[in-house]
Symmetry: C2
């Protein structure tokens, strides 16, 4: 790891009001981490002049690299430019490079653009390939401050294409030894004793356990490559049937890779997950190589008319039943001719429906071509959105363990 | 607004590495905001003893209420309990309330539970209704510090059901006057001149503009209710055809409400958005009242066999074409008998496919029963995930404007 002290400051009242989730800090952190840099702190303030002045000054004193997003726009609550100009004791003036770029991309509508091309004299502009506001880069002898627009679509290409090369040139990352292991259906509390033992053996090892929906990430890190490899091997033996491999750590990526490798196809029939499983699978590039589609049959009528679920099942057993998901699975497999199918129906709440089933009750069915189907029930807890995500990730875990490790689905387990 | 200075600290290396997005800070902020409290700062640290000690102490000195999530688990990298015990100069001991609760919920398996029932003497435990680790609440004469587990499924019910009532009792929120207006397809730079004029007229008004995918949120706030109402009326007149109403500010909620009110049904046929539109619509409770489902026909074969897109269209025009989305729309409407249908097919990248279409090219079709269909093209920029989300939100905006305001879709617009 580079010894650079890095801090990310995201500016915006919308973050402090909880109206949006801080994806910018996560994006920047992930990109830096990938290239061997570690972020020490995230901070979020509102666009208030006093708070900004104090907060940015503190960060500048504390860190070697301060990355700021937000507050660069042309509107009256955008104060970042003013505050950084003060911090670096310089004036704001129109930058010729930015004017030329904006004219090229937006033609002659320069009313607003004139304002946006006005930047602190000591900053180098980072041109915006998507929107209007340029980024700002300040380099001093030993520190860097960089400001990006808050819109992810504008910040991301600017960060990756323009800023990252400058950072890598100025502060090449040190060589790092780090290993991530991903385990599904393995609880933090089950892994902990194993890691404590390992820590006693290898005190130089740094470790972390990060739980998520239905899986955990285990991080091992050390300057000593040999002990890291030893620890990795040991854990791999102990946790074997739970471990999956994925560059992003996502179980859906492990599934994606399995299907591509095996040249098989997948179809889903989703009711209560409402397209979430399909959406997670298709977020990964190249999903079209194996993913045929999902029948998001939210209504009973679609289950009956599209997936041929018999009317009698819907009337006597209801949509949240072993019989219904098995019929959904059969319909989806037959109509798509996929190699593997998975069907899910349940109730995510917050109120029960005509089925009177307990909230969080899920029936699922799964089948590989040429084998018998599995039908199983899950009981999931949480609010509506948590239930939907936990259901999706539990099913991904169950599907992956069956496909890759030949471990059958649990029978009536709660998650 | 209450004058309470509130700060949220989220602990976890997984946040600083960008492996997970900080949903906890957003959740807590949104709940507090709803009840009239404003958060002044979010900070994220890793589970490092020195950084934690210093960071928590600074926050405690600076703020009236410090809310901490993460680092409460039983594992070796969970240090929050130790650091807060130091901060309040007290020992850790086994808490009888927690032991009783854990025994009741987990039976006699007390090995790990003993550890988890050990809390700082000066803390009140907040019982965990989902997992194991209890929350911790410290009350002094004028300050509060509260620690929650990092898992959202455990933190959320503890925050809402146990902590929030204590906060409301101790610090009743002041009456606030705040107005949010939501506009779709209206750019930040278009709204700014209008707001600047308003600000000149009503200097006591606080304002903010928060852009998001295809829409912006305008926040107005003032102690003076009359000027707030005047400003709201003025903006409503000027922005009328762009404004939508939704408690959460989400355009999909405006669509949800329109369908419920009009007692109409909706069906989707999604290709490149891969179930994302269905997933966003079904995240809102009660979606089953109008949303019949989505044909996530990711493969050409499913487009042909499920939605009856003629083979000839697929061969001569390709899947990213006016003809293909119109056929998808017809198939979805016919098979579902929905009142309104929307179909989308395009290329999200990052690499082009056999169609050789430019990345971000989208064709969409939309129809209300009894009217003619609209077929239109969008050109979207960004990385894969941005293109998918921008496409989904652009289509929600277009759909809503057509349904609620009778404004036809744009012809060949870039977004």
């Amino acid at each position: 790891m580079s010894g650079l002290k890095i801090e990310i400051i995201t500016i915006g009242k919308e973050l402090l009001d909880g109206r949006i989730v801080n994806r910018n800090a996560a994006f920047i952190s992930a990109r830096l981490f990938k290239f061997g840099y570690t972020v020490e702190r995230h901070t979020t303030f509102s666009d208030d002049l006093q708070i900004l002045r104090k907060g940015l000054q503190e960060a500048y004193e504390r860190s070697d690299l301060v990355i700021i997003t937000g507050g660069l726009g042309p509107t009256l609550d955008d104060l970042t430019r003013i505050v950084v100009a003060e911090m670096f004791h310089c004036k704001l003036s129109v930058n010729a490079l930015v004017i030329t770029d904006l004219q090229k991309r937006f033609g002659k509508e320069l009313d607003m653009l004139q304002n946006q091309a006005t930047i602190p004299d000591k900053a180098q502009p980072l041109l915006n390939s998507v929107g209007i506001a340029p980024g700002l880069l300040f380099l001093t002898n030993d520190k860097m401050v960089v400001c990006f627009p808050g819109m992810p679509a504008e910040m991301q290409p600017m960060f990756v294409n323009t800023f990252l090369p400058v950072l890598q040139e100025r502060h090449p990352p040190l060589h790092k030894h780090e290993v991530y292991l991903y385990a599904c259906f393995f609880k933090e509390s089950q892994i902990d004793p194993i890691l404590r033992e390992l820590q006693a053996q290898l005190p130089e090892l740094e470790m972390g356990i990060y739980p998520s929906y239905s899986h955990v990430t285990i991080m091992l890190s050390s300057e000593n490559k040999a002990s890291l490899e030893y620890a990795e091997e040991l854990l791999k033996v102990q946790l074997d049937s739970f471990l999956y491999t994925a560059a992003t750590g996502k179980i859906e990526e492990a599934i994606h890779n399995w299907f591509i490798k095996e040249k098989k196809t997948l179809v889903l029939a989703e009711s209560c997950t409402g397209g979430t499983m399909a959406s997670l699978l298709t977020a990964i590039k190249g999903a079209s190589e194996f993913f045929l589609g999902s029948f998001v049959t939210y209504s009973s009528a679609l289950k009956q008319h599209i997936l041929d679920v018999p009317k009698k099942i819907l009337e006597t057993k209801g949509t949240i039943s072993a019989e219904c998901v098995l019929a959904m699975l059969n319909g989806a497999l037959e109509k798509s001719q996929a190699d593997v199918g998975l069907a899910i129906s349940g109730i995510a709440g917050p109120t029960s429906d005509s089925s009177h089933e307990k909230i969080g009750t899920m029936w699922a069915a799964m089948q590989e071509k040429g084998s018998s189907p599995y039908v199983f029930r899950l009981q999931i807890t949480g609010d509506r959105q948590t239930i939907i995500l936990k259901t999706a990730y539990s099913l991904f875990g169950i599907l992956w363990r069956k496909l890759a490790k030949n471990i059958p689905p649990p029978q009536g387990t709660g998650h």
